[in-house]
């Protein structure tokens, strides 16, 4: 059955409920009232590359191997930076599995699609500079074909890292509007590509991620979450709120178009990789480690005066610390992680001392700043467990740590900014799905089983999640139960075999679905 995963990076009901009630997102409101909705828990570290890869593979980060945006490798006195890409994901994706089953897939703007792997369908990667989208898309002529479509400026689809970095910290007031406009235009073109491909070259599974939701919320969360909205907004604040609403209104308009294209015979799920909340303070963890005598800066590192977690040069940030002379350090804010570098026989006692110290970090109100400390072997089990920092922190406001040098270890922010929350969203509408709010909370690991079942495919036994049966009418599930595949799929079928299987599947699938729907009274 035609299935769409409509991904909103960082979407949270806290914001969306307000926007639906205000009439900004009527199509989402309709989907929520006519379909099913539930909470969707993120990965233990709610971060885009880990989370979307977990959704796409049905495997947890310790197994798929994506641990962060970047991997820092110690090289002599310095740290060499690698960006994670598709080659670092060691588990088959939904795109791969669905394609191998002879169906067609479209995956747009997802993390981890580059370098591209040949599949039956289309892939255009997210989080990729516009200069490299052409070479990173599949099939190789996709970029050129889309460029030829009237009204498509496909170069805008690429990520401008300079622009994105601006949104992670406060900007001059007038700079906000062109920055928000950039997000609106970029995601509008992604959605044009989505609806164009859904109409002209439809796939069995279509998936897109809109990362503008995340970016807008990082910068403008206090103008989106009703709990933080200014009670007496000035003229500029009113314009910011209106412009943010324009973004969500645009997304909603295309959601409506996608729902229309899917029609009554398919399913559309809206998913997020994590939720969002407000960050109210900043924890300069390397400053704190330095204060404890466990970290040595490399030279004279200036104190941050911009309430920043990092500078716009992550490679330089990773070299702020003298690793040779330090026993513990953080390299990236996104990892919320601390690496320990002590002799093996000291490790257990040092880690315990470090954990105890972290639990005793308090803010000006006397309350602990660190609310959870996760050990990598317990939190990220799997073949890639050792690629995670030894400790992953959860802060009381879910902030990311700062790797910079602060004036003090903990400082309040002058104004709240957006940060990732571990609970995101899952909504769905379509054949067999029930109406209302599901009481259970689901996990990103459950989305691959959900999508595979929706497509009529078996669920591989190695997937860690479960088919979320409670999203469906019990009668429908009884007529179309999930099938568990105990064996790994065979080697990639030939192109001809894919065509044959596709034709066969379409006919058989349609007949089975019609029979099920008739038996349940959905159709006469």
């Amino acid at each position: 059955m035609k299935t769409v995963l409509f991904g909103l990076d960082g979407a949270t009901y806290t914001v969306l409920d307000h926007l639906m009630a205000a009439g900004v997102m009527p199509h989402l409101a309709s989907l929520a009232s006519q379909g099913v909705r539930a909470n969707l828990e993120s990965t233990a570290l709610p971060l885009t590359p880990l989370a979307w890869t977990t959704l796409a593979t049905g495997r947890s980060p310790g197994h798929h191997g994506i641990t962060d945006w970047i991997r820092c490798q110690r090289r002599g006195e310095g740290t060499f930076i690698h960006l994670f890409d598709s080659r670092d994901n060691h588990c088959p994706t939904l795109w791969r599995r669905v394609s191998d089953a002879g169906l067609r897939v479209t995956a747009l703007n997802y993390f981890g699609l580059a370098p591209p792997e040949p599949i039956n369908g289309h892939t255009m990667p997210g989080f990729t500079s516009g200069r490299h989208l052409r070479r990173s898309s599949h099939p190789s002529d996709l970029f050129a074909r889309l460029s030829a479509v009237d009204g498509f400026d496909v170069k805008v689809l690429g990520m401008d890292f300079d622009v994105e970095t601006q949104g992670l910290q406060e900007m001059d007031r007038e700079a906000w509007f062109p920055w928000i406009d950039h997000q609106i235009e970029r995601d509008r073109v992604w959605l044009e590509v989505l609806t164009h491909l859904m109409r002209e070259e439809p796939s069995d599974l279509t998936a897109i991620v809109l990362d503008g939701v995340d970016k807008l919320q990082h910068l403008a969360y206090r103008y989106l979450d009703p709990a933080h909205l200014p009670t007496e907004p000035d003229e500029w604040e009113q314009r910011v709120v209106a412009r943010c609403h324009d973004y969500f209104r645009m997304v909603d308009e295309y959601l409506g178009r996608a729902l229309e294209i899917v029609g009554p015979w398919g399913r559309l799920f809206v998913v997020s990789d994590h939720g969002f909340t407000a960050s109210q303070e900043i924890f300069y963890v390397n400053r704190w480690l330095h204060d404890q005598g466990w970290l040595t800066w490399r030279g004279d590192v200036p104190e941050d005066d911009a309430e920043a977690c990092q500078t716009d040069r992550p490679a330089a940030d990773a070299n702020l610390v003298d690793l040779e002379a330090s026993r513990a350090y953080a390299l990236t804010p996104s990892s919320n992680g601390i690496w320990i570098d002590v002799a093996a026989d000291e490790f257990e006692s040092f880690r315990a001392e470090l954990e105890s110290g972290l639990r005793n970090v308090v803010a000006a109100d006397g309350q602990p700043v660190v609310t959870d400390i996760k050990r990598r072997e317990e939190t990220f089990p799997g073949a890639f467990s050792e690629q995670f920092p030894h400790l992953t922190l959860t802060l009381r406001d879910h902030s990311f740590i700062s790797v910079l040098n602060g004036r003090a270890a903990v400082a309040p922010r002058s104004a709240p900014v957006g940060t990732h929350h571990p609970v995101g969203i899952l909504l769905g509408r379509g054949v067999g799905l029930r109406t209302g709010t599901a009481e259970d909370s689901y996990n990103l690991l459950d989305i691959a089983p959900l999508a595979l079942h929706s497509l009529g495919l078996p669920i591989p036994a190695e997937l860690e999640g479960e088919f979320p049966a409670a999203l469906y009418d019990p009668q429908y599930v009884a007529s179309d139960p999930p099938r568990i595949a105990t064996e790994s799929p065979a080697a990639e079928p030939s192109e001809a075999a894919v065509d044959d299987e596709e034709a066969q599947f379409d006919a058989e699938d349609e007949a089975i679905i019609l029979a099920r729907l008739k038996s349940l009274g959905y159709i006469e």
């Binding site: 002599g76 060499f80 960006l83 490679a315 070299n319």
Partner: protein
Amino acid sequence: MDQPTVLNDLTNILADLTADWETSLDAPIGPQTRLIGDLSFESIDVVHLITAIEEHYGRRDLPFEEVMMQDGKYVDEVTVGQLSEFLASHLSA
């Protein structure tokens, strides 16, 4: 692998990578071509170049930091010649 072959490979990779870029280079890519000064590389482009090279040779173990870093800091410029020399020495090892 000899350096002329590597240089030829690298030139082709760079030509494909930069095919639709606006660069200040008005001559064919050669050993003297500077990634930043002539091809307008930004740091993210270096990442993509490394990926393209790794994909071309089917290797992910090449120590690019030897040519991209000096004294623990990233270098300000790299020429095609320097890069092909580095690759030739490691691909023939």
